[in-house]
Symmetry: C2
Subunit: 414 residues, 2 copies
């Protein structure tokens, strides 16, 4: 049986690591990250797991199956945090997975498939500017060139950070993947859909990877008092139209779960008595439906052009990233939804707006994700909080799912 008390104790132990200042700071490969990793290895061993690490430092706590040759049921997440983040992002997925394995260990359940708890390093982009590095490395998606070019603010490359921890950047991608039956990740929602709809659990159908753009509107910086309205080339007024365009286009596609956000705006010279001559915007467009997201991006490009033409201002549009949405396994989603119903937890099927380690598994093996609510949708912030009742409910669903998936005769169609 899932033990809430033990879960709470483990969250409390982890919360002490990196608690200097507000919130939790456990940057990838930092001392705090390494202390947390050491604690996790200890918890894995207490759950009867055999622990191994790969060349990137990702750790895997393995419970052998009756048939050790058969494919692995894998579940997990990450332990690193953003600066001044919370103690639930990633941690919830790792501790719930360890709790599931601890229960299975104590209950001496005979699983046919081996089961592994995975902890991926460097999921947050805070240190090296790129997210989900550990799961990328696991799937051989990190080149030696990237290991050198990704650097932190001190100029330490990812390869150097790995060497400092006694790891093996030169061996990344060499090892053979274990045969994996499926991958499951439990995570806090990092949004407020579950809380708003008063639903206990979210079954993730797809992960919406972002397309990101840098937009610069170029007008003319004139005196705000001495320039009549009809002689202006106001870069900020043009940019304001772009902000509202992004909002409208995404709103029109809201039924597909597509979202659009202008998160960055910088006006130059940015003083009271000068019409802004140059405004820079950062635009983020995401969706789980490739067609819907594509429609928004296309209309964004043409709308931007129309605004610039009508206002006679110049513009630059640079695509920073353009990732594809990742569909998760329909069958695993059905399994998870069914288990929620069986355990009497309300649930909805929903997209994930944020990226997760799970997205690197989805093109290789059947992959599922379970969301639990987090208060007010707040994440990456000292105020990040998830209720232990919700964490325990998610862990119970995960436990039931793993029991089924680890049976030799439970097949995942598709």
């Amino acid at each position: 049986m899932v033990c809430s008390k033990r879960l709470v104790e483990n969250f409390q132990s982890i919360a002490k690591i990196g608690a200097k200042g507000a919130g939790i700071t456990r940057l990838a490969f930092s001392d705090e990250d390494w202390q947390a990793r050491t604690l996790i290895i200890k918890l894995m061993e207490e759950a009867g797991l055999g622990v191994i690490a790969d060349a990137f430092g990702n750790i895997f706590g393995r419970r052998e199956g009756l048939n050790p040759e058969s494919s692995v049921v894998m579940l997990g997440s990450h332990m690193d945090s953003v600066p001044q983040g919370g103690n639930f992002d990633g941690v919830t997925g790792v501790l719930s997975a360890i709790e599931v394995l601890r229960c299975i260990h104590e209950e001496k359940i005979e699983n046919s498939h081996p089961i592994e708890v995975a902890v991926f390093m460097a999921e947050e982009s805070s240190r090296f500017g790129v997210a989900t590095l550990g799961s990328k490395a696991f799937w051989g998606k990190l080149s030696p060139a990237q290991l050198k070019s990704y650097q932190d603010k001190q100029g330490i490359s990812l390869a150097e950070a790995l060497q400092e921890r006694g790891l093996f950047p030169e061996k990344i991608g060499d090892g053979q993947q274990p045969s994996i039956k499926c991958f499951l990740e439990l995570h806090i929602e990092q949004g407020k859909v579950l809380e708003t709809k008063q639903v206990k659990l979210g079954v993730v159908e797809a992960i919406a990877a972002p397309s990101r753009f840098r937009v610069v509107m170029n007008g003319e910086a004139d005196h705000s008092g001495a320039t009549p309205m009809n002689m202006r080339l106001d870069a900020l007024a043009a940019a304001a139209e772009v902000v509202l365009l992004v909002e409208k286009l995404a709103g029109d596609e809201a039924s597909y779960g597509t979202v659009g956000t202008t998160g960055i705006i910088k006006a130059e010279p940015g003083v009271m008595n000068v019409i802004p001559g140059k405004v820079e915007l950062g635009v983020d467009i995401r969706g789980i439906c490739l067609e819907s997201k594509g429609r928004v991006i296309e209309a964004f490009r043409s709308g931007l052009n129309a605004i610039a033409m009508r206002r006679k201002v110049g513009f630059e549009l640079v695509t920073l990233t353009d990732e594809q949405p990742v569909a998760l396994s329909k069958n695993l989603a059905e399994l998870l939804s069914g288990l929620c119903q069986k355990l009497n937890y309300s649930s909805i099927v929903m997209p994930s707006g944020a990226g997760h380690d799970a997205m690197h598994f989805a093109s290789h093996v059947p992959t599922g994700m379970l969301f639990i609510p987090c208060r007010q949708g707040i994440s990456h912030n000292p105020a990040e909080y998830a209720d232990i009742k919700d964490i325990a409910a998610g862990t119970e669903v995960l436990y039931e799912a793993v029991l089924k998936l680890a049976q030799a005769d439970f097949r995942i169609a598709e």
Copy 2:
């Protein structure tokens, strides 16, 4: 006769003072400002003027009249600059006035009224955050409390800056005003109306003082990927509507010369993956028609409220300044326009969007201003530039005006 060569030489001499780095830097009461003041005193003396200073350091070069008891025809401007400004803002008004008096001196013209060239200190707000300090002091509008509370970035108060220059902050406002017949100021336009309309000179009818507002839109900072469009309280989208509201309202009143500008925008947290929760705006609304400006401000307040209500975001509106437009003398404007015509210089009657020393004279004595074009409307910038032909043309008109105004029998009606 106005001598272009001499004007050019004087501009060149002044340009050497404060020319460290890009453009011209002569902050009020700085060493550079004081060097420029010393040079101006020398030029005044060469024009046969008797120079006196008041308690604030404003200088007055006086040519006596046949009737020394009669009221003074005064003309002038300022010599200080913004950091990395140009060599024409203010300087043009001072050098043209000195040139006028030099011509009168050389031509041994017998003027009935005394004529004075005034140079007001600290016209730019760059050092103490408040503009036109010298002309304010001249009219007794600076209190001892203000002299102490106005401080520069080093914490030096205006009173201390005056003392450091051997001036007399305690005596400001004590001296009696001379009896003044009228005041004239020639200045670069600091806008591009003359250049766009291909007109040589502008006769200013009124000075549009600004009303300035700080607006803060308060939404909610949520994850840009994980928050559906209908669950957002996007402070930037709300602010974008405010920017366009300001532009539209001022545009509707453009026929009255009213202008509205959002020059400042700051979004928090200002990162790609978070919906801005807080956005600050700086809004500047100006006009020479009090009623028109009032209509814009009233519609701005109610429109802001409507945007916030509809979007369910909070807002703060703080009035930073709320000044009244200043009408200049219609009769002096007619005199200046007539002289432009007589001398075959095209001219238009126009408002001044920027504030000037002249505005403190307008409620006391008949006051007139003459604008000359500046290239692309650029001012407060190293690229500030005015053509010597335009400067000379303006100086000729000023010369003719002063000759008339200094006659005993030339009365200014109204």
